[in-house]
Amino acid sequence: MAGLTIRNLVKRYGDVQVMHGVDLDIEDGEFVVFVGPSGCGKSTLLRMIAGLEEISDGTVSIGDREVNDVAPSKRGVAMVFQTYALYPHMTVYENMAFGLRQAKTPKDEIDRRVTSAAEVLQINDYLERSPRNLSGGQRQRVAIGRAIVRDPEVFLFDEPLSNLDASLRVQTRLEIARLHERLKSTMIYVTHDQVEAMTLADKIVVLRDGRVEQVGSPIELYERPANSFVAQFIGSPQMNFFTGGDVATGPAGYVDGDTLGIRPEHLIACDAGAALVSGKLELVEQLGEYALAHLITAQGSEFIAKMEKPPAEAYGDTLHFTAIPERLHVFSPDGLSKRG
């Protein structure tokens, strides 16, 4: 097992630069999630760590070893692909044994490792089946099993759950969390789903356009987003943003031109006198456990309030909200958080 150090990593395709000097430190045994919208470079970054994409500039080190020029199979990484990428003409057993066979591992050693990995993942009943006779969830386990048998220092997951249906996704997410608990190895996980990021990660790396926007624990990103992009990306429903005339009296440090961010779950209904923001009720989504009120300010900014029960007011009525000062986020015009 080992940590990972990335220094000033750059990726260019011809004249187009897609990765702009990424620096990152990943501790031994950490579960790190790369998250960001599509095209942000999270998969490219993962593939550069794996050795599937060439590194244009900068370095990647696994443990103390710089691996820029090390062959992918010698880097001590194993990857789980989005499409599983199982070898269709081999049985589950052969799929898992393939890497070890390439490394000329003795047969009984292969057998021992495949069997023990299969037990961990509860796939020992279909070791002799071929991948096309497995369900999506089972294929996913085989793909994870193929990574486990190689006993890598770093596990890489490339959106491993995106091809599964919703219920299976929740279940597999838990299993990956348990697996990490059990193996305690370094894991890097790419997703565009912020729920996966929040639930799995020790550390989240938010990427946008080939740059790291913020690195931190899930709760840090939720409570202290460094900029409006991260604030918007983490949390569901998204953070509400208010400008200028939307805000009755801004908190300390709020000047004209700044943006005020309040999460839907932090808006507290109040009367007109105490209101921080007010809006006309447009629509209510009733979810049982809570209700989402969609509102629009006098200025035309839309926002959402998460309420315990649906408001009594009719559509078109004005509602007033406030929030406690610690829960307010002030962003300067360039998008940076003023809380520092």
């Binding site: 794996a50 050795g51 599937l52 062959a71 992918p72 199979s73 010698k74 990484v77 194993a78 990857m79 692909f81 989005q82 499409t83 990428a85 199982l86 070898y87 269709p88 003409h89 081999m90 393939f98 890497g99 390439q102 490394a103 096309r132 193929r146 190689r150």
Partner: protein, 286 residues
Amino acid sequence: MNPTLVRWLQAPSIFVLLLWMIVPLSMTVYFSTIRYNLLYPERTGFIGLDNYRFFATDPSFGPALINTLILVGSVLVITIVLGLAISILIDRPFRGRGIARVMLISPFFIMPTVSALVWKNMLMDPNNGLFAAFSQALGLQPVEWLAQYPLFSIIVMVSWQWTPFAILIFMTSLQSQDQEQKEAATLDGAGFWSQFWNLTLPHLARPISIVLLIQMIFHLSIFAEIFVTTSGGPGVSSTNLTYLIYIQSQQAFDVGVASAGGVFAIILANIVALFLIRAVGKTLTV
């Protein structure tokens, strides 16, 4: 639609197809059992299997059968090996790939007669051919390809003509190969050859069997290349079954014996096809 109606609507076209197949086939079978030589029109009558005996005991029959099998076998091996190699080579994107592909496919669009003439007169000719010019440039005696290695020359021509077919089929199915599987194999430490044997070849099993079967059907009846270049010679060294049947019908004018040869060729094609399907059938299950 009701099934009976469907059947009635299909019936005319199926009937035409049946006629198209059954009329020439039964006429061939019929001719093969009667005395029918254009030089002796007065000699007629049913003679049982005598025509088959004449055809099979013809001194050219044995060599022709062996030549046919050698020709089909070697062309299949050459086109599939070359086709695989070239299609894998041009699978990766490179500058001018589109043009390279068109050029690689183009020999397939040239008529066999024309390509045979080009090979015979422009490339293999011992006086004016390109190969002869190379040999002379190196100070060697030009090879008389068609006289010294007639069957080999035919194999070269036919392979040149048919490798593009294999490339075309393999190229398209390589495009459908899963790239992530290859990447997974790269991470598993598999090099080029290991990936080729474990991923690419199994992926191409079906296209390979298609190429085998289609080419076999065409190669059993190779005629133009032989007719234009060697005329089956020297002696019978480049005579195949098709050419032997041609000699029987158009030079000996013995329609009866030629028909018997035709029936024999049909049986041979079926036997070869049966073996090939058996052999590749096992790989077809994925």
